[in-house]
Amino acid sequence: MNMLPEVKADILAVLDKLIAILQAKDDKDALEVRELSSHVIHDATLFEEKDAISVAVFVYGFSKIMQRMGQDIDYREFSAPLSAAAKDLEADDLEGFRDTMRKLFRMVSSRDEKINLYVSDVLRHARIKHGSNVCEHGMSCAKSAQLLDVSQWELMQYIGKTTHSEQMGDGHDIRSRLQFARGLFS
């Protein structure tokens, strides 16, 4: 099945920007890359698009590794597979695209034995963070957890530390809520 044109365009835009950032090292690279990851997250919400999630998780995780490794990371190593992924996607070769994405995940995970545990943690965190973003875009907590393949326990803990619950007006005021609850236990 082909990817929806909107999703394909968004993923390609993110990959192109990432490849452009990797052309030359700059202090702001990690920050710019992290911001890129949120560009595809609305596709995940709207279309439940696993490839968009995969790209968002990779890009966010990669930004954290850039932050951690600083000058030690070799951009050129990642540019070629990223270009290959973009090329595969452009040609609607979804199998090729997914294979390359898997290869990219493996590359960041096996960078360095010392960093391996950190990477797994970062990628897990990226899933939880994007689960929270999807939630903020209007999906329920359980649905977001399912989509990002994280447990609701993890997601609830993360969401609790965000401002999500400050952002929505409610139907009932707190006094009437308490009055109703009191009635249940009187």
Binding site: G138, C141, S165
Partner: protein, 232 residues
Amino acid sequence: MKALVFDSGPIISLTLNGLLWMLRLLKQRFKGDFCITKAVYGEIISYPLHTKKFKLEAFQVLHLINEGVLKVVDSPAIAQRASSLMETANHTYSVGDHPLAMFHYAEMTVLAACVELKAEAAVVDEKMTRIVLENPGRIIRVLAKRMHHKPSMDGARLEALQAELRGLRIIRSSELATIAYELGMLRHYIPDPSVMPQPKAELIDAILWGLKLNGCAISEKEIKQVVKIEGK
């Protein structure tokens, strides 16, 4: 028989705050069943039992089930109604031609069980389920802001959803904890006034913030209001 049907969220936020025991006392006072659906059981017990993280918490919830404090409910009628609710709810809001599948089957089983069991209320900490029942127009504004696309709402489907769930009330773990506090179930936590000037207000504030920080969708403004009401 009276019943409250719990979604995963309140069980998770109570467990993570070490307040799960409260359900035992609340149930005695309620004189009815505290139910979870089979799908919710899967989320809060089966899934974490296969992981390292939250496995211990899953055991704690399982213990409450074994004690009979939480009752697992399941029936073809609940499953059928949940599927039908999910079909309606997940086609109520759209962006362009794409319906927004906002809800998970487990959440719909909670609402379906409430209807089938004629439950007094659903206990849900998650905000979207609550808002769609209490303030559906608000969802459009949130989606428009977040999605960068103009969403639309199928009025007929929303009406059908609301008709099916008419009269269903939702409470959160924060309301349960506040009632437990009012009933003196948490009084052993209240320190001597020499430790802090307003121990009752501080305790209720601490409980509500604990629940909020573990996912209960209660706003800071609401917490302040409850502290003002209860902390005297």
